[in-house]
Symmetry: C2
Subunit: 401 residues, 2 copies
């Protein structure tokens, strides 16, 4: 048999992973001179390239033997100490380095947690819309998704509680800070209420928090983890704080879960990347991180305002837009009857690309929404791109009427 | 509920992952002044530390913007070109960069391939003994392991063929070059025969090949992949060639499987580590790799011979030892009735540690075997350690008689 067909041999779990429209659109966008609001890329102008180079040089001078060898599967201890101290201080929480495991971005933490908890058919409560990468990671374990509405101040908690009544609902996945794709953040009250629900119903939350450091004006409220330590795995990432190419994130776990997470992770790739862990730790302890973060926050705020201004100026009044207080995305709701999937086909002809909302739903709805990324476009391109989307939208609305 | 117990909530798949005795023994060994034959660590004296530092500095000077951003999920194209050319030339094969995906060591490739293929209960043919990390990765998908004997020249192929008759056997996992733990390599004839079986029965092989470059005198024969391209995923690793702390390996796939592997991998961690991919590529293209590899081969051969000599000298005649032609391990078979699990308890009291053979079996047997790593011990320590193991073994044999 010269060319076997793999399709029929692939596992049920694999087949359940939805394709990434984001990835396919990025491939198009990257090959051309597009104005792209599609990806979720940090602004590369803000990467501390020189400092990273100096750190790489320094750690390879000092510790090459340790860096280049296999290492502990939980990650570089001084880096875990740094993370524990930063977030314990920031939120007045108790966090020990022993609770922290370094991962390949926070994406790997989601995958490992899904592997740890999900039997086929188990319920997973998920915001509507939710992060596509999490939908993909979770889908590979064939859960039953239990969607809840995302409101201005976080998930609809009475819907959450309805799901929590069910025995076979084990997990919830949420992004309480500047959510991807909506930009919405949970209120302090909803965080505390969700913590109570988790404890009361004995459910477990994956609190995904890659945008923690990327607020515009005021720090985000303390995480759900603070109020329900044993019911929450709280993930973080250096991707937005420093640079995604270093591919290091972390997860802060309940003590009891640590050896299980560690064993599950070992089976996937033995240990995290040693070089980048040392580089990140050296960068963090030899540079003014606050100054760097302030410049990131200021720039993203500027880009956000430029996009929000353009939306207000060019879009018709019946387009609704979220008002994020941080992160990298704005979420639009189009007038009834307009499909964002059709819209992006038209705007792509004019060199502008974004991600239609249905990519962020587990059950195929969401075509009336648009995710717009503002962190990776220059200010003039933001105005120009929004203007083009608005004009194509108006054409479609005319044709509908 | 203050402290929920996770045990009962964890997934069936996770619970099926066996613990790693290697990892737990390493934790002990690393905390003390042990003579360790337990790990699978390359010799750190041979890491090209200076060259890696120079490469890190150079690539961060030239390409920081690309390195620090998110990147393609398949890996850095020039690195994939380098791999394709090296192994196409080495074995007179057709290999394109488009068939190659960069992974976090070859361990990740095993995990992703298991995810792609295995439904619960599917048969996976596996050598007896086999690599513990593969047993762990595969176990997380709950296959039925179908063990086959490993002979001096590779797996017993009539046993393989018996398993291949079964419809629900999809995969085989094998390490044809200097296998971990046995040190055994497949003969050229067995590689070709196995390729025929794979094609004839339409089965798929994970050909795990981390020790490809680590032969003592003669190159290993061409891989099974050469004779059954569409039925084999052939993995490789920079861990033994350069350094494991960089955590980059690769897999060479049949064309048709590439997009599936890519999608499955995206869901686990988005893309491979960018910095180390650039560093490795720069190192490979700006240094004399052959000279480096020759010094690694020479050193490992020297360490191997020291250990084999000590075994011949100190062990009783009824201890059987494999005679590897490369890699990092020797495999011993103890006289009947002696348990290596008991033996290691005694040698650890005298500061010597190794891994008992049962860690490398899927069904709990193998206690009469020992895996010895020779790449990470100094020559005097090798002699001293083997002498101690031999003397403890003799004590146990006396007490059995």
């Amino acid at each position: 048999m010269e060319k076997p067909s793999f399709e029929k041999k692939l596992s049920e779990n694999y087949r359940n992973i939805p394709p990434s429209f984001v990835r396919s659109i990025l491939n198009v966008a990257e090959n051309n001179q597009f104005i792209s609001f599609a990806g979720g890329l940090p602004n590369p102008d803000l990467f501390p390239a020189n400092e990273i180079r100096k750190s790489a040089n320094a750690v390879l001078q000092e510790s090459a033997g340790n860096i280049l060898q296999y290492a502990g599967s939980m990650g570089y201890y001084p880096l875990r100490q740094w993370i524990a101290k930063r977030y314990a201080d920031k939120y007045d929480m108790k966090i020990s380095p022993e609770q922290i495991i370094i991962t390949n971005g926070s994406q790997q933490a989601i995958d490992i947690l899904a592997r740890l908890f999900i039997n086929q058919g188990d319920g997973v409560v998920i915001e509507k819309p939710s992060y596509l990468g999490a939908i993909q990671a979770l889908s590979a374990y064939r859960p039953q998704f239990c969607e809840v509405d995302l409101e201005e101040d976080g998930a609809n908690l009475s819907q959450v509680e309805d799901w929590f009544w069910k025995e076979d609902v084990k997990l919830m996945y949420a992004v309480p800070n500047a959510q991807n794709p909506s930009g919405i953040s949970y209120s302090d009250a909803k965080r505390k209420h969700l913590a109570e629900l988790l404890k009361c119903y004995d459910k477990f939350l994956i609190e995904d928090d890659p945008y923690n450091e990327i607020y515009f004006e005021n720090n985000f409220p303390a995480p759900v983890k603070k109020y329900a330590n044993n019911n929450v795995a709280w993930t973080g990432s250096f991707s937005k704080m420093i640079a995604p190419g270093l591919r290091n994130g972390w997860v802060i776990l309940p003590d009891e879960l640590v050896p299980h997470f560690d064993k599950a992770k070992q089976s996937t790739d033995l240990n995290p990347n040693n070089l980048t862990q040392f580089v990140i730790h050296h960068y963090l302890t030899n540079n003014d991180l606050e100054k760097h973060l302030q410049s990131v926050r200021k720039k993203y705020h500027e880009q956000y305002k430029a996009m929000q201004d353009a939306i207000n100026h060019f879009f018709p009044d019946d387009v609704y837009s979220t008002t994020p207080s941080g992160g990298m995305f704005i979420w639009l709701t189009l007038p009834a009857g307009v499909s964002s999937v059709d819209l992006v086909q038209e705007t792509m002809k004019r060199g502008v690309v974004f991600v239609p909302g249905n990519s962020f739903y587990t059950e195929g709805s969401g075509q009336e929404h648009i995710r717009l990324n503002f962190s990776n476009a220059q200010l003039p391109a933001i105005e120009k791109g929004i203007k083009i989307i608005a004009s194509e939208l108006e054409k479609m609305m005319v044709s509908i009427c």
